[in-house]
C-alpha cells in the first residue's frame, strides 16, 4: 500500500522526487524473477564457447541453486529442485531427468538437515554444499554411465574441488542479487 506523501520535500535524487520516501514495497516481479533467472542463466553458461578436455567447468546452475537455498532458506520451495534440475538437463548434456532427480534429492536432504541443525554458520553451510556438490556430480557420472559408456570417476576430482572452492563466491553473488532483489 503506497501512501503518497507530497507535503514533505527533502533534497533527493531527481528520479525519486515525486515518489514516497517511506513505506515503499519491493517489486514483486523482481522478487520472484531474480532467483529464477539467476539459476537459469547460470545453467546456460555451459552453452558458451568453453571447451575443456575433461569435465572441468563447475555446475554453475547447481552452485547458484544451492547458494539461494542455503543463504535464504524458505525462499525456494522444497519441490523447486525438479523444475530447476530439468531446466539444467536441457543444457548440460546429461540424460534428461538426471539433474531433476539429483537436485530434488539434494533439496530433500537439505530440508532434513534444516530440521536437525537449525542454527548454522557459513562454514557449516559450505560443508553441506560441498557434500551435495560431490554427491550430485558423482550421481551425474553414475547416471550418465547407465545410459552411455562412462569414463573413470577419477576425472571428476578436479571439477569437484573447483566447484567446492567456488561455492563462497556463488553465495556472495547471491547475496548481492538478494539485496538488489529486496531493494525498494
Amino acid at each position: 500500500m503506497k501512501i503518497p506523501v507530497t507535503t514533505i520535500r527533502l533534497p533527493t535524487r531527481p528520479a525519486r522526487e515525486y515518489e514516497s520516501r517511506f513505506d515503499r514495497e519491493q517489486s514483486l516481479l523482481k522478487m520472484l524473477a531474480i532467483p529464477i533467472a539467476s539459476v537459469a542463466i547460470a545453467s546456460m553458461i555451459t552453452a558458451l564457447p568453453i571447451f575443456t578436455a575433461e569435465p572441468l567447468l563447475p555446475p554453475l546452475g547447481l552452485l547458484m541453486f544451492l547458494s539461494w537455498r542455503l543463504m535464504r532458506p524458505g525462499l525456494l520451495p522444497v519441490w523447486s529442485g525438479v523444475p530447476f534440475g530439468l531446466m539444467d538437463d536441457v543444457f548440460s548434456g546429461q540424460p534428461f531427468g538426471s539433474a531433476g532427480l539429483l537436485w530434488s534429492l539434494a533439496m530433500l536432504f537439505i530440508e532434513i538437515i534444516d530440521a536437525r541443525a537449525v542454527w548454522r554458520d557459513h562454514l557449516q553451510d559450505w560443508l553441506i554444499a560441498a557434500i551435495v556438490i560431490a554427491a550430485v556430480l558423482l550421481g551425474g557420472w553414475w547416471i550418465a554411465g547407465m545410459v552411455h559408456a562412462a569414463p573413470e570417476p577419477a576425472i571428476l576430482i578436479p571439477q569437484i574441488i573447483l566447484s567446492i572452492l567456488l561455492y563462497p563466491l556463488a553465495v556472495r553473488i547471491c547475496a548481492r542479487l538478494d539485496s538488489w532483489r529486496l531493494a525498494t
Binding site: I50, T52, V78, W119, V147, H148
Partner: protein, 300 residues
C-alpha cells in the same frame, strides 16, 4: 541463519496443510524426475528435441562469443607473427625445401594411384563434404564430451555423419536441430573409432577416456606394438569414418595399447567439416540384410 518461518506454521490448519502439500509435491516431483530419467535411459534419443531446442535458444549468444574468441585468437596469432618474423622466415624456408621434394613424390604417387584405380575400376565416391560450420560450445561440466555445431538441418547435416577439422577427426553427429547439431567428440567414452597406424596400417580401435585423450587398442594380441610419437589415422573400416583422416599422436605406451592425444582440439579448431558417411549405401544395404532386420544404428 535463523530458521525460516515457514517451518513453524503455528496453529493455522491452512498453513499446516500448505506445508504438508509442498512435501507431497516435492516427493511426487522427485518420482516424476526419476520416471523421466528412466525414459531417457531406455531411449537416449527420446528428449533430443528438447535438447535441440535448448541449443537453439543459446546458439545466438554462443555464436557471438565464438566470433569474439576467434578474433582474439587471430589477433594473438598476428601479433606473435610480427614478433617472430625473422626466425619464422628462416624456419619456414628450410621447411619449404623439404616439402618441395615431398610434393614431387606425392605428385608421382597421385598419378600412379589414379592409374591403379583405373585398372581396378574403382570410382571416387564423389563429393564427400556436406557442410562447413564451427564448434560453438561443449558440455564442459558433464562427463559426456558433446560439442554443439553452428549448423544443422538447414545445411543438410544429419545424424551419423562424421565431422573433421583441418587438423584431424573431431567426432560424429548424434543429434540435429534446425540450425545446430550436437557432435559426440572422439574423446567421449562411448565413441569407438576404427583406426590404424599411419606407418604400417596396423589396425586398432580408439576409445575415448573422457579426459582429452584416447585409448588405442590394437586388434592383434600380445605386447603393445606402439611407440611414443606414432601417428594414428582413421582406417575406414566399418564404413562410417572415411579412411586416412589424421586422428591422434601416441604419447604413452600402455600394457595393452597406447594413450594418444587427438590432433583436433575442439577448443582451437577454426572450422569443422561435416562429411558424408563413408560407404553409406553399402552400410545401409548391409543393415537391411541383417538376419534380424533390427541392426539399426541408434542415435547415441
Amino acid at each position: 541463519m535463523a530458521p525460516p518461518k515457514h517451518r513453524r506454521p503455528g496453529f493455522s490448519r491452512k498453513a499446516q496443510y500448505g506445508l504438508f502439500v509442498t512435501y507431497v509435491v516435492a516427493i511426487a516431483g522427485t518420482i516424476v524426475a526419476a520416471l523421466l530419467l528412466a525414459i531417457s535411459v531406455a531411449d537416449p534419443a527420446g528428449f533430443s528435441a528438447l535438447r535441440a531446442a535448448g541449443a537453439e535458444i543459446t546458439a545466438p549468444v554462443a555464436r557471438v562469443f565464438s566470433n569474439v574468441r576467434r578474433s582474439a585468437q587471430n589477433m594473438n596469432a598476428a601479433a606473435a607473427a610480427y614478433i617472430n618474423a625473422a626466425s619464422q622466415n628462416a624456419a619456414l624456408q628450410k621447411q619449404a625445401e623439404v616439402n618441395r621434394k615431398k610434393l614431387i613424390e606425392a605428385q608421382a604417387l597421385r598419378v600412379e594411384n589414379a592409374r591403379l584405380r583405373g585398372l581396378l575400376k574403382l570410382s571416387e565416391d564423389g563429393e564427400s563434404q556436406v557442410a562447413v560450420g564451427r564448434l560453438i560450445s561443449s558440455t564442459s561440466s558433464s562427463t559426456r564430451r558433446v560439442a554443439t555445431l553452428s549448423i544443422g538441418r538447414n545445411f543438410g547435416v544429419e545424424r551419423a555423419q562424421p565431422v573433421r577439422g583441418p587438423s584431424g577427426l573431431i567426432g560424429r553427429v548424434i543429434e540435429t536441430g534446425p540450425t545446430t547439431a550436437r557432435i559426440l567428440l572422439v574423446t567421449d567414452a562411448e565413441n569407438l573409432v576404427p583406426v590404424m597406424r599411419a606407418s604400417d596400417g596396423l589396425p586398432a580401435f580408439s576409445a575415448g577416456l573422457g579426459n582429452g585423450t584416447v585409448l588405442i587398442k590394437p586388434l592383434n594380441l600380445g605386447e603393445s606394438p606402439f611407440k611414443v610419437g606414432d601417428v594414428i589415422v582413421t582406417s575406414g573400416n566399418g564404413g562410417l569414418y572415411p579412411p586416412n583422416i589424421p586422428f591422434a599422436r601416441v604419447i604413452k605406451k600402455t600394457s595393452d595399447g597406447a594413450l594418444a592425444i587427438p590432433y583436433a582440439d575442439p577448443g582451437n579448431t577454426p572450422y569443422a567439416v561435416v562429411m558424408r558417411p563413408y560407404q553409406g549405401e553399402a552400410r545401409a544395404a548391409q543393415q537391411a540384410a541383417a538376419p534380424d532386420g533390427e541392426t539399426k544404428e541408434v542415435a547415441e
